[in-house]
Amino acid sequence: MIDPQAHPPYGVPQAQKDALLLEQLVALTAHHRGHCPPYARLVQALGGPVPTRVAEIPFLPVSLFKTDLLTSVPEDQLFKLVTSSGTTGQAVSRITLDRNTAALQSRALAAIMGDLLGPERLPMVIVDCASTIRDRARFNARAAGILGMMIFGRQHFYALDDDMRLDVEGLRRFLEKFAGTRVLLFGFTWLVWKHFAPEMAEAGLRFDDAILVHSGGWKRLADEAVDNASFKARLRDMTGIATVRNFYGMAEQVGSVFVEGEDGLLYPPWFADVIIRDPLTLKPLQPGEVGVVQVLSLLPMSYPGHSLLTEDLGVIEHIDGAAPARYGKGLRILGRVPKTELRGCSDVAAARLSA
């Protein structure tokens, strides 16, 4: 087991990181083979030699967490079941956490956010409604994300009401109270873009010293042809927020998030990494080549999620290219792999007849 705070998040050069990750990932693979029989069957079937490179660690398709419960802890040690925030009707991932893994995730996030936000807790605006986390029955990755971030701020204010409208009066009071103080905002990319920023502009409210941390994917923004650069520019226009940092993370690897650096690229911390794979051969690609994103993390002890093949496309722009500020791989996410539809016998037009 590792301590996510043993090194500065981006302080380990890639060569050194590769060696460190290889040893730990081999150990994690063995751990999960020993504690999760279905995973052991999979690794057996995938075969291959004992890994001598990180790229040889077996990788699990992330979609399996939606169809199969994969866990390495006995039921009595189960601390929390996290589900991904799928839209209604979609299958959601189910991730089992024990206390140990949950603690690792918290320490990891603390290391990453400490690096980004500094040691002091800032007054915090949560770009969401309070009921998102109040309703435990709906406890999902969105709520978990908010709860995980809340500890990095103080004097929390929920900017949206239950109808997802901006609480204009509440926000006005918050801004008056903390005038001249640096403020932290956190929210999901789409909510910020669609529900928060336009209403702020309309109400004529502005931040003069604020940092926004956001996540949750670009799919719907891409549909509106909004990229990271225009997102930042428009947001600054509408709200006055000068510093905007995206991060890439998923319910299946909570804690090891890749935060955007000054250059706009996403950086895995030292206890996590990314590999880009060719969709045809599943072999690793070189920097500059676009492929499917595989994420690796040393945090998942309670479920076999330390090496996952995602359904995202990405490209590594450089390795150690932003050193010494940031060692490691600079990643650009290019969005979801486009959905395709193969028509099967069960797709006769009339299948929808009585739907």
Partner: protein, 402 residues
Amino acid sequence: MIVAELLPSPAPRPIAEILDRLDAAPALLPFDPAALQMLGELSRRILAAKDLARQPDAVALGYWLRPANLARLADRYPPLSDGSLRVPAGLAFHIPPSNVDMMFAYSWAAGLMAGNRQIVRLSRRRGTLADTLLAVIAELGDARSAFIEYDREDAITAAISARSDLRVIWGGDAAVAAIRAVPLAPHAKETVFADRLSLTMLAAPTVLALDDAALANLAGRLFNDVLTFDQMACSSPRRLIWVGSVEAADAAEKRLTLAMAAEIQRRGYRIATATALEKYAAACRAAIRGPVRAIEHTRTDWVLVDLGDGPAAPPDASHPGAGLLYRCRVDDVAEIAPMIDRSVQTLTHFGIDRATLDQLAVRLAGKGIDRMVPLGEALAFDLIWDGYDLIDEFTRRVVIRP
């Protein structure tokens, strides 16, 4: 109730008007020269049409309908020995699948051979090839048929069903269940083609004995069987069975896999990234849920999931298509019996002799497998389909005793 009539004259039209017109159309007897002449003409036009002659499945339809083959098919139905007369069922209502663009034409052509008046409901999700073919059919001026499309409306299906003598449903099981819930006229009958599963079986020593040219030819035929419709046709094999020793099967598989990679390359078959990920996930899911000896995933366009020795089935029926085969090995053909149930439609074979196939069929005694055909002919249509004789299904008999 309005539907979109595609043929004979494209326009929104009340369904009752279409049915009235079909009722008034003159009757034909099975294999009437006029019907055969029309189908022969369709064959000529398909094979002469530039955009269709490039499509293997359209060409296959064209060949199936050429006059010489129609004559052969007709010869299979000589006058009945008891003196009774074959007559058409009447008005046939076809609900073809959307996944195989040519299927509606086979269903319609078989119905026309049987002499029926016909109404064909086409899927709104049909491919462009179906529309191209429809344009060619339009040139024939068939007065006994209507081709229509409409959105999911049970009321329209019910209106057509109430006036039909025969309903032909090409599944999906979900489609069959949904349409079956819509009543038919009391005297009418229904022919249903449900979800099916198909297998391929190869004798390992025979594959090992092939020279390179013959191996490439085999790969070409396997490509046609498996990948023509992205492995989504019911007749496309989803499981591969080696017959032979462990050593022979492994060696034969190595040869065949290399030959398939070359064939896939030669034919320019490409799968989408999402499909590649789905195939990898399906293979991993199988391993998570049950014993899998190995996942062969050097390339995601041809994935073999090795279920090991002896008859074996994957842990669930879901299948992503586009080139994923569950593979097992047996010493003897008879061993596959436990893998066979009523859902198995086609067994394509290579290097297996007639006597062995006969023995297998006798042993199964109807437990499953409707057709055993040489590897490469999985998708070849015949009037005997899913175990039914379509001419028998689409006709009635008038008993005449003097």
